[in-house]
Symmetry: C2
Subunit: 199 residues, 2 copies
Amino acid sequence: MARKQAVRREPLDPQRIYQAALDFMDVHGVDELSMRKLAALLDVDAMAIYHHVPGKQALLQGVYQVVLEELPLEEHAEVRWQDALRTLGMRFYRLAQRHPRIFPYLLSSQYGTPRELEIYQFIQQALRRTGLSDQDRLYATRALYTFAIGLASAAPTGLRLRPLYGEDSPSQPCQSSEDEVAFSIDLLIAGIERWLEER
Amino acid sequence: MARKQAVRREPLDPQRIYQAALDFMDVHGVDELSMRKLAALLDVDAMAIYHHVPGKQALLQGVYQVVLEELPLEEHAEVRWQDALRTLGMRFYRLAQRHPRIFPYLLSSQYGTPRELEIYQFIQQALRRTGLSDQDRLYATRALYTFAIGLASAAPTGLRLRPLYGEDSPSQPCQSSEDEVAFSIDLLIAGIERWLEER
DNA sequence: ACCTGAACACCGTTCAAGT
DNA sequence: ACCTGAACACCGTTCAAGT
């Protein structure tokens, strides 16, 4: 007991709190998390957390930021914009798949994180190489970003239609796959290419 | 007081409960809703609701279904698939705009409603007219549906990036518009058309 | 500086009881 | 059949106090 207290005495910073919350939610789901349980997990009084994180909303935002930081964003400028976007999309999909219980929920919590902005700018940057007009590039960026949000929200649970189909309709779409996501991204890229040809 | 009780004595059915919850959440947001407040709104003891709706999760699902039923789905078979999809997309966008406080949240509540399935099948039906293979049509349907979810989740709040930009960057994307959504949908449609040309 | 503990104003939900 | 009211096991958060 006294031993346990002695073992862990780093003084509880935001990163450690976010990480513990993330780990817990990955296992138990978003609804199960409470400030009190999280505190117990960190071996600390419930209210200690409030000295490092302003409240629950901020906690969830912090977790979201931590998750998004798992997404690699190095830019290789020599790469075709099509490949840059395809890679980003697939990575984003895999990230959402790694955290299926929390991604849809975090997306709904209205306020963005800095990392989200970086992703947005990455897309914008890649599209700069297409020669689209400013207006069209803005629109295309948002189309891609919107799609990514849909992907994160829907992919983990197979488009949320699982409970509506009977078990016995194997041809129905109950699992998303890498193939499918690649197809979707290519659809958007092909749309942009066609727009470029016709402009 | 006794008068008030006399005025409203229809005996409280699920539809009326869902509608009251929807109206409340449109004004006050999702987080503000509680079973107790909803009961007060319906002029009823808190626990009366449980005789018509199994619990809060079911309540939210019911509300989601009610909202989605606002989306018109009549099929005009003679219309080009491109136009059918464009119309559906724009209507879905406008619906999300009419309920900006609740759409992103309802999307995150994991389990689908029957109406969601109908929308999915509407898309599938429209794409049947393209001549895509079964596999490709399935993929394309899901790409479009995924995009719709992103739209509903992101559009109401301007892609959730608002707080990340300074007030003073007018060129930045803080409002989605009909134009922009139309552009996005056309991008996906163009992608499908190109796929058809190349197959 | 960092953490604690009691307290406040709520929750969703169960269950026995009322009419 | 439909509703009520008390009770249970929780919440997030505030605030004064401890070390």
